[in-house]
Amino acid sequence: MNSKFSFLGYTKGDLFNFIALLAVALVVVPLLVQSEYWYSSILIPWLCLALAAIGQQIVMGYAGQLALGAAGFMAAGAFACFNLILRVPDIPFFVALMLSGLVAAAFGVLFGLPSLRVRGIYLMVATLASQFFIIWMIDKFGWFKNYDTSGIITAQDIVIFGKPFTSPQEMYFVIVVVVTLLTILAINMARGSTGRNWMAVRDMDIAAESMGISLLKTKLQAFAICAFYCGVAGALFAFTYLKSLEPVAFDIKLSFKILFMVILGGLGTINGAFIGAAFILLFPVLLNSIGNNVFHGAIDATIISSIEQVVFGVLIIVFLIYEPLGMAKLWDNIKQRVISKIAPKSEPLKQKKT
C-alpha cells in the first residue's frame, strides 16, 4: 500500500503516496467502478487476502519464521466473529472484528510455541498443526457452528451504527477502512523497534539474543500479530466475500496460496503482500476470461482449463528464477527506471526552484 523506498521515517514522498492511494481507494474507485463484479469478485477478496498476506509477511518475511497455516488462523477469526455477533447482543461489528483477531492471536501464540525449539522447514511442519487443529475443532464441536446440520452457516449482515452494509460497494468501504488502518499499523511496526527486533531474529537469532532481544517475546509477538491479521482477514473474507462460513473454505490450499503471495510478492515488504495477493488471486481469473473469450470454441474447453493452470505454474517459476526478490522488487526497478528517464528533464526545474 505504501512506499518502501525510504526506509527510516516518513518522507514527503511517503505522505504523498499515502494520500494519493487513499484518494484512489476512497474516491476514484467508487466513482469509476460501477460494476458489482469488480467489487465483490476482485477488490473485496483482494484486500482480504492482502491483509492475510501481511500477517504471513510479518511472521515469515520480517521475523523469518517459516510458518504455514495462515488459513487456520483465518478460520479461527471468521468463526470467532460469527459466534461473537451471534451470542453477544448488540456487539458493534468493529469490536467483534477486533476481538476475533485477538482470538486468532491467542491461537497464534499457542502454535508459535514450537518456533522456540525448531526452525526452518521443521517449523513449517509444526505450524501445520494449527491448520488442521483449528479446522478439526470447528468441525468436531457443533457449538462453533451453532449446531447447524449442514456445517455451512450463513454469515450475518454487517451492521454498523444501525446501518446495514450489504451492497458490495458498502462492504468495500468497510474493508478499505480496516485494511488501511491495519496496513499503517503494520508499516509502523515494521519500521519501529518491533520490526528491528523481528529482523534481527530473522538474520541471526543468536546474535539477536546476545544483544538483549528476547527470542521468546519476539517470536511469539510475531506469531500473535500474524494470527491477528489473518483472523481479521478471515472474518472479513467470510462476512463480505463468501457470505457463509465453512471450514473447508479455509483449507490447506488457502494457506499455501497465502505463502505464495508472500514469496512472489517479495519477502519482507508490505507492498509485496498487496502485489502478491493481486497476482495469485487475479491472474487465474484473467487467464480464465482470456481462455473463454478469445479461444472459446476454437479449443476444447477442458484443454483451455488445463492450459490456464500450466501457464500459471510456468509464470510462477519464471518469476522465481528472474526475480527471486519478488514483484515488489520488480516494481521498484520499474519505478527507478521510469524516474531515471524522467529525471533529466525535471532536474533543471528543481534546481531553478531552490
Binding site: T149, S150, G151, L242, K243, D251, S305, E308
Partner: protein, 447 residues
C-alpha cells in the same frame, strides 16, 4: 534490442484488432435474434473433472442441440463458461463474472457442488436467479416457502439416504430385521459428506440400527485406517459418501483388501459413475449405487444428440463414448429442466419467442410437470423419474433407482424408489427450513 519492440507491438496490435473484429462479428450476428443466456460454472480440472466434464458437457451439448433445432420457440441459447475447480471461493467469483452478458442476466445457476451452492445460495433472492441443485446442495431448499429461489429437483440427499436404507431393509427381509444391524456411514469430511446425517441418524434411531460415522479427510485418497476400523466394526452395510474418482475408487480397492463384500456397499450419486468404477477394476464388481438419472445411450434424445451434435462435430466431449454415461445423462437431465422451464416461462408470461427474466423463469421452473408422457416426448422416458414441482415442494420426484456395477456397466436393480415414509423426510426438511427462517428473520411465503 530496440528494433524488436515495434515488431512485437505491431503483432500485438494485429492480434488485438483481430480479436475485436471477431467479437464484434459474433455479437452482431447474435444480436439479430432473441436469445437467452445461460451460465456454465464448470469444473473441468482437478479431482472432480470426470464429474464436471460429463455434466457440463451434456448441458452444452443439449443447448447446441436445441439451437440446431430452432431454439426455444425461436429464442437462441447462448452461454459462457467459467472454471470453478469445484471450489467455493472460485464459484463466487464465477457467479459474479457470469451474472451478466451483453446486458442480459442469468436466470439460473448450477454449481454441481454442495460447497459452491452454499456459497452463492443467499444471493439468489436478491439477484433474481434460480439455484438449480440437481440432486445436490442444501437439502432444506426443498421447502419452497422459505427458499423460493432454490430448487433441488431431482431429489435431495435426505431422500437418497432414506431410499438406501429402504433398499437395505428389503435385502434384509423387512424393517423389523434391521434392528440390531450396524451401518457405517463412510464419508468425506465436508459439508457434502455430512449432509445426509440428520435424516440418517433419525431413521437409524427409529429402526434400532447402530450407526457408525467414519470420516475421511479430503481429498480422501488415504483410507487405510478407516477401512481397518470398518473391519473391526464388522458392519452389515456401508453407505459411502465420497467425491472424485480417486477417492471413490480407492474405497473399493481398500474394501477388497480388508475383505468387505462390495455388494454390501452403497455409493452416493456422486460416486456412482463409470469413471469412479473403472479405476478399481475387479474390486468394483458388485458395488451398489443409486442414480437420479440413469445411464444409457439408447434413449431417443441421447441418440439424437449423438447423431446431430456429435455428427456435425459440435460435441463438447472429446471422448464421444462418454455420451450416455452417468454424469453426462445427469447433465442432460438438468439441462432439459432449464429448457422446459424456459418454455413454461415464455408461455405463462406471454413471451413466446422472447427472452424471459429471472422472476419469469422461476415461475416456469416451479410449474415444471414432467409426466411420464412429457418425458417420453422429450425422449428421456425412463431416464429420470417423472416429477412435478410446486410452490411448496421444490424437490420433485424424491426417487432414486438402485444400480449395481457388473464390471463393465451399471445394471439397474430396482425401479424408481421413494423413501418408505416420504412424509417423514418432508417433515425433517420443513423443520430445518423453519429453523433457518427463524434464525434469519424470513417470513415463509404461504402456498
Amino acid at each position: 534490442m530496440k528494433k524488436k519492440f515495434p515488431k512485437t507491438r505491431n503483432y500485438l496490435m494485429a492480434v488485438a484488432a483481430l480479436v475485436a473484429v471477431a467479437t464484434m462479428a459474433m455479437s452482431e450476428s447474435a444480436a439479430a435474434q432473441e436469445k437467452q443466456y445461460f451460465p456454465i460454472a464448470s469444473s473441468r480440472v482437478g479431482p472432480y473433472s470426470a464429474m464436471g466434464t460429463g455434466y457440463y458437457g451434456a448441458q452444452i451439448d443439449y443447448m447446441n442441440y436445441v439451437n440446431m433445432n430452432g431454439g426455444v420457440n425461436g429464442v437462441m441459447l447462448t452461454w459462457q463458461e467459467c472454471e470453478t475447480e469445484y471450489n467455493a471461493v472460485k464459484t463466487v467469483e464465477c457467479y459474479q463474472r457470469l451474472l451478466e452478458k451483453d446486458g442480459q442476466r442469468i436466470v439460473v445457476f448450477d454449481t454441481l457442488g454442495t460447497p459452491g451452492a452454499y456459497a452463492v445460495i443467499n444471493r439468489m433472492a436478491d439477484d433474481n436467479v434460480v439455484l438449480a441443485q440437481y440432486g445436490y446442495g442444501r437439502t432444506d431448499g426443498a421447502d419452497g416457502r422459505v427458499w423460493p429461489w432454490v430448487f433441488n429437483a431431482a431429489s435431495h440427499y435426505w431422500s437418497q439416504i432414506a431410499v438406501k436404507m429402504k433398499f437395505m431393509a428389503e435385502q434384509e427381509g423387512g424393517v423389523e430385521n434391521m434392528r440390531g444391524k450396524k451401518i457405517v456411514h463412510l464419508h468425506i469430511d465436508s459439508a457434502y459428506g455430512r449432509e445426509p446425517l440428520p435424516a440418517m441418524r433419525k431413521i437409524a434411531e427409529d429402526w434400532g440400527v447402530t450407526l457408525v460415522e467414519i470420516s475421511i479427510p479430503p481429498p480422501g485418497l488415504e483410507q487405510q485406517s478407516q477401512w481397518l476400523q470398518i473391519r473391526r466394526e464388522q458392519p452389515d452395510w456401508v453407505t459411502f459418501w465420497g467425491a472424485g474418482s480417486g477417492m471413490n475408487s480407492t474405497a473399493m480397492t481398500n474394501a477388497a483388501r480388508v475383505g468387505f463384500p462390495r455388494d454390501r456397499m452403497i455409493y452416493v450419486t456422486f460416486g456412482a459413475a463409470e469413471e469412479d468404477m473403472y479405476p478399481a477394476g475387479d474390486a468394483a464388481v458388485g458395488t451398489y449405487a443409486v442414480a437420479n438419472a440413469l445411464p444409457g445411450d439408447d434413449y431417443p434424445l441421447v441418440a439424437a444428440i449423438k447423431e446431430e451434435v456429435y455428427g456435425a462435430g459440435e460435441g463438447n466431449l472429446a471422448d464421444e463414448s462418454r455420451v450416455g454415461s452417468v454424469y453426462w445423462n445427469r447433465g442432460l437431465g438438468a439441462a432439459v429442466m432449464w429448457i422446459e422451464a424456459l418454455k413454461n416461462a415464455q408461455e405463462m408470461h406471454g413471451k413466446v419467442g422472447k427472452a424471459v427474466t429471472g422472476a419469469e423463469f422461476r415461475d416456469g421452473y416451479e410449474a415444471l410437470n414432467m409426466t411420464e408422457s412429457r418425458l417420453g416426448e422429450i425422449g428421456i422416458g425412463g431416464m429420470v423419474a417423472p416429477f412435478a414441482i410446486s410452490c411448496a415442494n421444490h424437490e420433485g420426484a424424491g426417487k432414486f433407482a438402485v444400480m449395481q456395477w457388473d464390471g463393465e456397466k451399471f445394471q439397474q436393480i430396482t425401479g424408481w424408489e421413494a423413501p418408505l415414509d416420504p412424509a417423514y423426510i418432508r417433515r425433517l426438511v420443513e423443520d430445518s427450513a423453519a429453523k433457518f427462517a427463524s434464525e434469519n428473520n424470513i417470513t415463509p411465503k404461504s402456498c
